[in-house]
């Protein structure tokens, strides 16, 4: 105990003349207030820190979204609790799921169906957007100690004036208590703590934080346990208050520091939302047939027929003829079709090497310089065949150079790849990268025009070329058969076409549906959309 610089007790006793009752009464009142204040502080701190012994944790509230019940600077004491039913409707401390580094104190307003907690700040208009899983709950609010965390808040917000006032009030109170005590000469023998002198007490107390700071963490740990101090203050309470001021001041100092070290802060964050609700997107059930017709095809056979004529679905348009005419022998009509949007959804299966669908009209047309051909097919064949093309003669197979011409055709090779071939002084060829003879419906679309030629499978562009012209000829479109002699470039798999001098029919063994032809090139978007609507 450092008392070397202190004035003598005699000098201190001389200062307040005992014969002056007015002064004494003021001192008496000041002493009472000071004592009460110090004990008040001690009491608050005890309530804040003692529950730590039974596993409760204190949290200083940092923000005001639980107003008006919980204010900034209040300390919430929370006991561990994992029972959602007990938490419902009550103030709960939890790890903020949105910001795991923060602790939040909000009220549980609902238990979500998935077992998580819906929380809300009392002062917030809406519940918190992120639900709290039980694993994030730190505890149920049990005790609220008003204002005790304010020094910590002041420290954080650097409100030094308030901190200074607090410290000054503690020191001043301790001083007043000790002066009040000095006036009672007889009490000094009861204190058991050496000479009771104010300056001595202050000299003893003032270096305390300095020691604490210099002592490092070990020193802090040594001074932090409050219970021993409280045990001792419980004793002096009945004794003359000499040590009381000292203990109170010590407690004040240490607890502010200890609290800063051990009491975590908890946010009661404000939140609010605004919304644009009910945004919606919907896709209608597009009808493939309607969409094809909307693009004004030159020829459209739906192949839903039951007789020898392939009806035209557009006007004007060309009808077709199932040739030879006996549908029962060479075609299976009314097979399941390619479209899901079609009623009836029918197709035709070609089941003979002589099965072919030719235009009914015997009048030839000039080969269109621009065109789009679309055909749906389904097959498992491994010998290839012609699906659709422009050819002379109208029926049968003719030799190239002997009146026979054939190009602008879509055909399958021996491995199941689809080809689009155009003759322009040589074979201009595009092919699909993959085999399509997998027994499923596919849409092959080929375009030729001023921007080149392109091949689409199932709406997607798979190959394109710069060639803009086909063979200049007259003839007829046909589906399901035709000459491929000379078109062996790139052909893979079985049944390679022979030289062009050998007319050879390449019938398609499979099902066909929805044949449409334009004398213009459709765009990629149009073809993509047609496939989308199927």
């Amino acid at each position: 105990m450092s008392t070397s610089t202190a004035p003598s007790p005699e000098a201190a006793v001389d200062a307040p003349p005992p014969t002056e009752p007015h002064y004494s009464r003021v001192l008496l009142a000041a002493g009472f207030i000071s004592r009460a204040w110090l004990w008040f502080v001690v009491g608050c701190l005890a309530v804040t820190l003692l529950p730590i012994l039974i596993g409760w944790r204190p949290y200083v509230v940092e923000s005001g979204s639980m107003e008006p019940r919980i204010h900034v600077g209040d300390v919430v004491l929370a006991s561990p609790n994992q029972d959602p039913q007990q938490l419902l409707g009550r103030v709960t401390v939890f790890t903020d799921p949105a910001k795991p580094e923060n602790t939040k104190t909000h009220r549980v307003v609902q238990i979500a169906p998935d077992g998580t907690l819906v929380t809300k700040g009392d002062a917030n208009p809406t519940p918190d957007s992120v639900h709290v899983p039980m694993s994030d709950v730190r505890g149920l609010g049990r005790l609220l100690v008003r204002f005790v965390g304010l020094p910590l808040i002041w420290l954080q917000t650097q409100e030094w004036l308030w901190l200074l006032l607090l410290v000054a009030s503690l020191i001043g109170s301790a001083y007043v208590v000790s002066r009040d005590h000095e006036e009672e000469p007889t009490s000094s023998e009861e204190s058991g703590d050496g000479p009771d002198d104010a300056a001595g007490e202050l000299a003893d107390v003032v270096p305390f934080p300095t020691r604490l700071a210099a002592g490092g963490s070990g020193q802090i740990a040594a001074t932090s346990p409050l219970p021993p101090e409280l045990q001792r203050t419980a004793g002096p309470a009945l004794k003359p208050a000499g040590p009381l001021g000292r203990w109170a001041l010590r407690a004040g100092y240490s607890v502010v520091l200890v609290a800063a070290l051990i009491i975590p802060t908890s946010q009661a964050a404000f939140s609010a939302t605004t919304k644009s609700v009910g945004n919606s997107w919907s896709v209608p059930n597009f009808d493939y047939t309607t969409q094809v017709k909307a693009l004004n095809p030159w020829l459209y056979w739906k192949l839903d027929d039951t007789g020898t004529t392939a009806a035209s679905a557009v006007t004007p348009g060309l009808t077709g003829t199932y040739n030879p005419g006996n549908g029962a022998a060479y075609f299976t009509q009314s097979a399941a079709g390619a479209l899901t949007s079609d009623t009836p959804n029918l197709a035709v299966t070609l089941n003979s090497t002589s099965s072919c669908i030719n235009t009914t009209s015997t009048t030839s047309i000039a080969a269109p310089p621009s065109l789009t051909e679309i055909v749906w097919f389904k097959t498992t064949t491994t010998v290839g065949g012609k699906l659709l093309g422009f050819e002379t003669p109208r029926t049968g197979v003719a030799q190239a150079g002997n009146g026979g011409t054939y190009d602008r055709h879509i055909y399958m090779d021996g491995t199941g790849k689809i080809w689009f071939g155009v003759y322009n002084g040589g074979d201009q060829l595009l092919s699909s990268p993959t085999a399509l003879n997998n027994g499923k419906w596919h849409m092959a679309a080929a375009t030729l025009g001023s921007s080149g030629m392109a091949l689409y499978i199932d709406g997607a562009l798979v190959a394109s070329g710069a060639n803009t012209m086909g063979e200049s000829s007259t003839g007829w479109f046909r589906a399901g058969c035709g000459n491929l002699a000379g078109w062996s470039d790139g052909w893979t798999g079985a049944n390679t076409p022979p030289a062009s001098t050998t007319p050879t029919n390449y019938p398609f063994a499979g099902s066909l549906d929805e044949i449409s032809i334009w004398n213009s090139a459709l765009t990629a978007a149009q073809i993509n959309f047609l496939y989308f609507t199927h």
């Binding site: 002062a123 939140s271 609010a272 919304k275 989308f532």
Partner: protein, 209 residues
């Protein structure tokens, strides 16, 4: 009673008074805050508040209207954009994040329409007033923040994962504009999404910082 006796009595009472006051404070505070019957009846804005409104209903109430009501949607390579201005008029600083809520169908799967609508969101945080960015995005100039692009059913749905850097200071009413663009171009590989619909709410949330 002698002066000394009175003094002693007062000294004995002072600690009791101090502790009693402390106890009363704790008891009162705890009773008010933790009583199980209290719900949240208050809208006391004594210490501060945060508040957001948006332009879909001319900043009238927090719950705005839809920016997108798209019927008969067909695949298209052309994206469609709408802009929404958000107003912050609280008096606390905070951070605003945009996320989606009530997304239907929420199931992740290519056969869902919501999985085939690509949404791109960008923001404009400087120089926005309540009217200088139109719903059609006239006047919108995106800031440097990397736009968020995700399918409708993969947009962030929480504040923590939300989009945006708008940080109102609380000093005055502040605005930020958001450009929301959708693209429905599912491509041929997608299974049939015809006859299907999707919906979503866009939510801006501010949390005080």
């Amino acid at each position: 009673m002698s002066r000394t006796a009175r003094r002693r009595a007062l000294r004995a009472v002072a600690p009791v008074a101090g502790l009693l006051a402390a106890g009363l404070l704790v008891w009162q505070g705890s009773y008010a805050a933790f009583s199980a019957t209290t719900t949240s009846p208050t809208n006391n804005w004594a210490t501060g508040q945060v508040s957001l409104l948006n332009s879909t209903n001319a900043f009238a109430t927090p719950i705005g209207t839809a920016a997108f009501t798209v019927a008969n949607m067909a695949p298209s390579a052309t994206a469609v954009s709408k802009c929404i201005t958000v107003q912050s008029n609280g008096n606390l600083a905070g951070n605003v994040k945009l996320y989606a809520a009530n997304v239907t169908p929420s199931v992740v799967g290519t056969n869902q329409l919501s999985a085939n609508i690509s949404v791109t969101i960008s923001e404009m945080t400087a120089g926005v007033t309540n009217s200088n960015v139109t719903a059609a995005c006239v006047g919108f100039v995106a800031n440097a923040t990397t736009p968020l692009t995700a399918n409708l059913n993969a947009l962030p749905t929480t504040y923590g994962t939300g989009f945006g850097t708008f940080a109102p200071t609380g000093a005055a009413t502040q605005y930020s504009a958001y450009k929301i663009t959708y693209l429905f171009n599912p491509g041929p590989a997608v299974a049939d999404v015809q006859g299907k619909s999707a919906s979503a709410d866009f939510v801006w949330e501010i949390q005080s910082s």
